[in-house]
């Protein structure tokens, strides 16, 4: 699976985006089922409803561009080209997992694909992405670094520190805020007087662009422009992608009791499903319904193969506990 869209015409590119969003959706629904069944124990944070951001942003990147994520990063991993069976094995705690069974759902990695790590400390990878941008600048390489984080992370000090550093040194960094309007159970309106996250960019002296995070083509287009600017040496950009988290903070539950307006918000946001929107558009543009319908069973087959791989993979050995605390010396 290549994160870069091989452009064989706009139609093929759009179909590839649809396929990626559908893959993320179906993988997470399957993970949700396996959590409910008690087969997966590690905390799993699902991005169902938000797939357009991972798919759209990563489609604008090359393999060498780096991506840094958080606790809700299955989508980032898959969209950047991470291996599905290895992710599933990781969620199952198996030694064949992408993090060798030490990470679970919240700590994913695919260095060969430029995904250097996702971790659950809120916003923790934002300064790390700035460091990757700094490395690009010092090495005179064209690669950009992308930090994915949620609206909650913008309340952390290191978000503001990182924006300032990246702007000051004109680093090729994209700060991608997936504003899903919730941090765990707390709605944005209870945490912030104004709905103005994007203005943090202005304070740091970089462009801040608000995007419809449920329109994958808008996300792709906005990211492409920001990437082109960053590669040209114009510095960083903050992209606020507005979206909505359908499921609860963690696990497959809908968390309807959380917040004052969860039910009405879902009624408002679910019709804006990024997958349905793109599908409708492709059909309007004349793509074959049959071809689009064929995507789902093929993806489900891949997912079941990944689940089988995970189930059949060995658990880590006790002796593995002591490995990799320190890296071997590499001068």
């Amino acid at each position: 699976m290549d994160a870069t869209i091989q452009v064989g015409g706009a139609a093929a590119a759009s179909r590839s985006l649809l396929r990626m969003m559908l893959l993320i959706r179906l993988v997470e629904e399957r993970i949700g089922e396996l959590v409910s069944a008690g087969e997966i124990k590690t905390p799993c944070h699902l991005s169902i409803g938000q797939e357009a951001i991972a798919a759209g942003v990563c489609a604008a990147l090359s393999r060498q561009d780096t991506v840094w994520g958080g606790h809700r990063s299955h989508g980032h991993y898959l969209a950047k080209g991470g291996d599905l069976p290895e992710m599933m094995a990781e969620v199952f705690g198996r030694v064949t997992g992408c993090s060798k069974g030490r990470g679970g759902s919240m700590h994913l990695v695919a260095p060969a694909q430029g995904l250097y790590g996702t971790v659950p400390l809120v916003g923790a990878t934002i300064p790390l992405a700035v460091g990757a941008g700094l490395a690009s600048k010092l090495r005179h390489e064209p690669h950009v670094a992308v930090a994915f984080f949620g609206d909650g992370a913008t309340e952390e000090g290191h978000f503001h520190e990182s924006l300032n550093l990246a702007a000051l040194y004109r680093l090729p960094v994209l700060f991608v805020c997936e504003n899903n309007f919730y941090s765990t159970h707390m709605p944005l309106s209870a945490r912030r007087l104004k709905d103005n996250i994007v203005q943090a960019a202005d304070a740091a002296g970089m462009p801040g662009i608000r995007l419809d995070g449920n329109d994958v083509l808008a996300v792709l287009d906005g990211t492409r422009q920001a990437v082109a600017q960053a590669r040209a040496g114009a510095g960083p950009c903050l992209l606020e992608c507005r979206t909505y988290r359908w499921r609860g903070h963690v696990g497959p539950a809908w968390d309807l009791e959380v917040g004052e307006r969860r039910r009405s918000e879902l009624d408002e946001w679910m019709p804006k499903d990024p997958i349905l929107r793109l599908r409708r558009r492709l059909i309007e543009e004349g793509q074959s319904t049959n071809e689009l319908d064929a995507l789902e069973p093929a993806i489900r087959g891949e997912i079941e193969a990944a689940v089988t791989f995970a189930r059949e993979s060995p658990l880590p050995d006790d002796s593995d506990l002591f490995r990799h605390v320190y890296a071997p010396r590499r001068t």
Binding site: P127, L128, A132, L165
Partner: protein, 324 residues
């Protein structure tokens, strides 16, 4: 051999690393100005350019995080904290991130970063400019902690830290900056995890860290005049500390005093004492002595500072006590 000051030795290590390894860069608050760093970074920005040697905004968290991110993608950064106290604002990137990444991702990602902090005691600076927090960081799996006490080690340990491939906290002591010693030219390493015998003796082992190693040398001379023959070990690496050398020395002398100018509770001296008591209790002929700071914040008034800090006299008293 050529004599250098401790501060010059640190500067020379930076300069040679910058000269020989394009992956090395130096960042942090105070890098362009001797106000905080003394002569330890003097003129490096002019010699190597302000792109590779850059002063930073007052953002310990993002600066340290950026150094860690750059290390993850293959650079060899040295991030500077003018006081160890200030470095606490970067606790998340150091403790939660750098320390964990190799383990967390099954060894596929590593963090070859050096996090340098200056311990600067006294001078009526008080509680937030004087802390020596090596024990806090030595507690964390995945971190290494070094504290050079001589100019030779100041240079060699920095080179070893940059080449180690893991997050290494390099803690230097401002009270040592003017001390002189032999320093070879060129790049050389002092191995991390290896302590050094500064004086051989038979009756009592003194283990000292950083500044206390220089105080322990004075104490050893005083004790020698009184007919007491001590063995002095400069620990050099706080984590992982050199069990082989410590155990062989205590096995020989049977008596141990540990001098660490940090707080007594939960400190490195406690860790060493517990390990010695747990592993080679049979070798001990007397209770273990600890010379540490009392469990109070650093005061400002010079009168209280005199009561707070420990030195050669305290080491002498502790050695005489374990010989009673």
């Amino acid at each position: 051999m050529r004599q250098c000051s401790y501060a010059q030795a640190i500067r020379e290590a930076h300069a040679e690393l910058l000269r020989h390894d394009p992956r090395v860069f130096v960042c942090g608050q105070g890098v362009w100005n001797p106000w905080y760093a003394g002569k330890s970074l003097l003129g490096l920005d002019k010699e190597f350019g302000r792109e590779r040697v850059f002063d930073c905004p007052v953002s310990e968290n993002a600066t340290t995080g950026a150094a860690i991110g750059a290390a993850i993608v293959g650079m060899r950064p040295i991030v500077f904290h003018a006081r160890m106290d200030f470095m606490l604002l970067a606790a998340d990137p150091i403790v939660n991130q750098a320390a964990n990444w190799s383990y967390l991702f099954g060894g596929q990602v590593s963090v070859p970063v050096v996090i340098r902090a200056v311990v600067n005691r006294g001078g009526e600076q008080g509680a937030q400019h004087s802390q020596s927090l090596q024990a806090l960081f030595a507690h964390i799996p995945g971190l290494k902690v070094v504290m050079p006490a001589t100019p030779y080690d100041a240079k060699g340990l920095l080179v070893a830290a940059v080449r180690d491939g893991n997050p290494v906290l390099y803690l230097d002591d401002r009270w040592l900056y003017e001390s002189e010693g032999d320093v070879p030219e060129g790049l050389y390493e002092v191995p991390i995890g290896s302590a050094a015998i500064r004086r051989s003796g038979k009756e009592v082992t003194i283990i000292a860290t950083s500044y206390m190693a220089s105080e322990a040398l004075k104490a050893a001379e005083t004790l020698a005049q009184r007919g007491i023959d001590v063995e002095l070990i400069d620990l050099r690496t706080i984590k992982p500390w050199d069990r082989d050398l410590v155990y062989s020395s205590v096995g020989k002398t049977g008596r141990l005093v540990i001098a660490d100018a940090a707080w007594m509770s939960g400190g490195i001296a406690a860790d060493i004492a517990a390990a010695v008591a747990g592993d080679i209790f049979h070798a001990l002929k007397a209770p273990i002595g600890r010379v540490c700071l009392p469990d109070v914040p650093a005061p400002t008034s010079a009168a209280l500072e005199r009561a707070y800090y420990v030195g050669a006299e305290d080491i002498v008293a502790s050695v005489e006590k374990v010989l009673l």
